[in-house]
Point group: D2
Chain length 141, copies 4
Amino acid sequence: MTRAEVESYLNEVFPQLSIDGPVYRVEAVGEQTARLHMTISNRHLRPGGTVSGPSLMGLADLAFYVALLGAIGPVALAVTTNLSFHFLRKPEPRDLVGDARLLKVGKRLAVGEVVIFNAGSSDPVCHATGTYAIPPRAVVG
Amino acid sequence: MTRAEVESYLNEVFPQLSIDGPVYRVEAVGEQTARLHMTISNRHLRPGGTVSGPSLMGLADLAFYVALLGAIGPVALAVTTNLSFHFLRKPEPRDLVGDARLLKVGKRLAVGEVVIFNAGSSDPVCHATGTYAIPPRAVVG
Amino acid sequence: MTRAEVESYLNEVFPQLSIDGPVYRVEAVGEQTARLHMTISNRHLRPGGTVSGPSLMGLADLAFYVALLGAIGPVALAVTTNLSFHFLRKPEPRDLVGDARLLKVGKRLAVGEVVIFNAGSSDPVCHATGTYAIPPRAVVG
Amino acid sequence: MTRAEVESYLNEVFPQLSIDGPVYRVEAVGEQTARLHMTISNRHLRPGGTVSGPSLMGLADLAFYVALLGAIGPVALAVTTNLSFHFLRKPEPRDLVGDARLLKVGKRLAVGEVVIFNAGSSDPVCHATGTYAIPPRAVVG
């Protein structure tokens, strides 16, 4: 799937993602990679002027999913089976970028990692790894 | 801290948690435990009639934090250093309960686990473990 | 499988486990639980008079596997897909017990947790969670 | 610390690592990186002609530690607080290489990742992340 196809697909199957206006933008989709941009607004902030943990986790989860879309096509029924996060530095209260990379795409499981940065920064604020279970007939359409 | 003190403290330091109206309710706080109730609304849903992963992760993160408040008092600056999730079953699209239990409360690190259920059900939908770094002078007031 | 059947099966398929003499003893196998005892000897120790991390990890891995044997029978080809450990306290340099409990046994994945103690102590030294991929025709014999 | 200093230090403080003869060889130590080679022998094997999970986990644990030695010097008392592993592919029953990279070296915590390959192969067999707690006065000598 191309970048535009992925964005269109996300809006269709996950309308809740933009319930408060657009938050995520797909910046790139490669064969086993994806880059997402997340617009940070007040609802994502936490005391001390930082971005909340759940905001980082939501970005990582979606970046994985987009990388998987790029690799195997629309898999609305693919299921995240585990996600593991290391919070490395306090993010500044501004936009984030999530870079996902699949480490393995098997028949039944895909494993990947995501690194999250403040946009324009090269210091990672969060590192995530995760596993997706791919349903027997995942690829539709 | 008592249950009421914890709720009041959360509302004060994390106003974003209730930006769309109340979502989380502290049901119990013990010495090293906490139970939170999460009201699920449309924004937490995903295709197939289930609750989104980030909703589960936000509940787990907060349940940990409340258990830590119960154990060592107000620690607005305690920092989650890692969180790891296993998604066990597809949650039904209705309210959730998160049960947190601290496994260790040291001087510098606290470790705990959270199990999440649909309210009224006994089948866990998510299991999480996590670590908090406790700042040198965490306990204030 | 009974406790004796499990021990006999382990010795048959994992002869390397007892390459230096017996190390692990199956103390109990339930429907979705297992308890293993690990005899600690010099090779498992580390500076400061403690048990090495890899020794704890090996015990957790095996305790999971035994719980899985108890739940679904001989699955020599079941594959650990992820394991995550929190090291809670420095173990004393003596025998360990690992208590495994399955949180989910699905058709394709099983998820569980293991808590490790020094034998006779009730303070956990390590908490582990893990996932097994169950091959399509796992149950033989 | 240089590569030779690290090897000498490991042999001194972790004599159990070579209780059956040399297993690990430090191939490189950078400012926040390390590469270890692990000689696989019969005791590391498992049915189906593969390397055991605990062997992979021991290699990852040690590679982290060596990267930390390279970054902050001899820290015999640094404590692994968590390790999380994804097992990506079945390793072939021959030597392994572990590449460690620190993602963060703070005052109190260091976080890193390790990727493990069969020597000479570029397909990762295991991906690990981990956290070390650094004692207040870690750097000696």
